[in-house]
Subunit: 240 residues, 2 copies
Amino acid sequence: MDTVDISHHTSQKYNAELEGVRSKVLTMGGMVEQQLTDAMTAVAEGDSALGESIINNDFKINALEVEIDEDCTRILARRQPAASDLRFVVAVIKTITDLERMGDESERIGRMAVQLASRERPKSQFSELRHMAEAVRQMLHDALDAFARTDVSAAVSTLSRDRGVDREYESIMRQMITYMMEDPRQIPRTLEIMWSARALERIADRACNICEYVIYLVKGRDVRHTSQEQIREAFGEDRS
Amino acid sequence: MDTVDISHHTSQKYNAELEGVRSKVLTMGGMVEQQLTDAMTAVAEGDSALGESIINNDFKINALEVEIDEDCTRILARRQPAASDLRFVVAVIKTITDLERMGDESERIGRMAVQLASRERPKSQFSELRHMAEAVRQMLHDALDAFARTDVSAAVSTLSRDRGVDREYESIMRQMITYMMEDPRQIPRTLEIMWSARALERIADRACNICEYVIYLVKGRDVRHTSQEQIREAFGEDRS
């Protein structure tokens, strides 16, 4: 397994600072994962109280983003990190931006849950959305896990699942367009479902961003605008 | 006017490096602005060739993002910037992420232009979208200008225009839902317009992010999760 050990400095305090940042990122990631899970439950079960609680919890994620950003700037200023430590700090600054935006997308789904709770809800339409949501949540979970273990192979394998999510998204969109055309009275509620699917698709994209930062952190290579085939070829079999 | 002078080091080379980064960010911003302008022209005039050219040009913006990111990491490693220089580099790392994603949104609008070009296009539906697009392009332009001049007042004033864009967005959405309900055959093309409006709304949000980074850069204060009222109160009248 290809990892980077960030706890190797003679200064115990510096080690503790880097580990503290890593631990906060994982806490933030866990909060976002919980918000996403709750948002989907709220949509599927028409639970507007749960939807409201997601909206009210978003500030905690925002506060943690600001805190971690300050930690990173302080480390850059005082410790003047180099090599993999510097890449770690830069990767964290980018990762928390994506996590915060995933939190915003989850909040949007929470808002749609509140809207949807007041309308008729044919259950069948939610089963595909729930399936997609579970795939996305798992991607986020695995991306955070790859980050926690600085594991390139796990990052590459998580990245490769984005296409499946995209296909589920396209399928839901086509189905929703059919519903709308068959019964125009359903247009407003069907649009809410479409926006939710769109938010999920964006969360999956951001989970991929985190995987790309993990590869950058470990390998020092920026793979953001590289095709999945090229990434797999370069790093996919990496089990050194 | 409240500005930060980044060109004040005894090392001419360091000054040149920081100025080089600033200049590349502005080049990248100009490219995104052009892509957005072209995307809206392509939608409104049903110009699928222009739509295709936007899709084909996105890689240039991506390449510049990677290049600027490398410049920033190099400056962090070699120059170990402090105080406002460090904030400048951190603000740039965040700004180019937003610019790159705005480029992606413009590319999405370009793709919708290609789709829309093959369908009937009642001109009337595009006038509101064009109006919104022009307001968003102007916000992006002014955000980049605030960045170029590290001008907090300009950043605060640009931020305050986001609400107007949100209102235009809501109005377009309501109108499109009405169109769809009146004529379900128009659903697919109306959805393309809705996605375009959504992309524009997100570009405006990202222009606001850039304004917030300008405030952070100059004032050292993170205002990302602060209300517009609080921002105006703290910095709005700042002409020192």
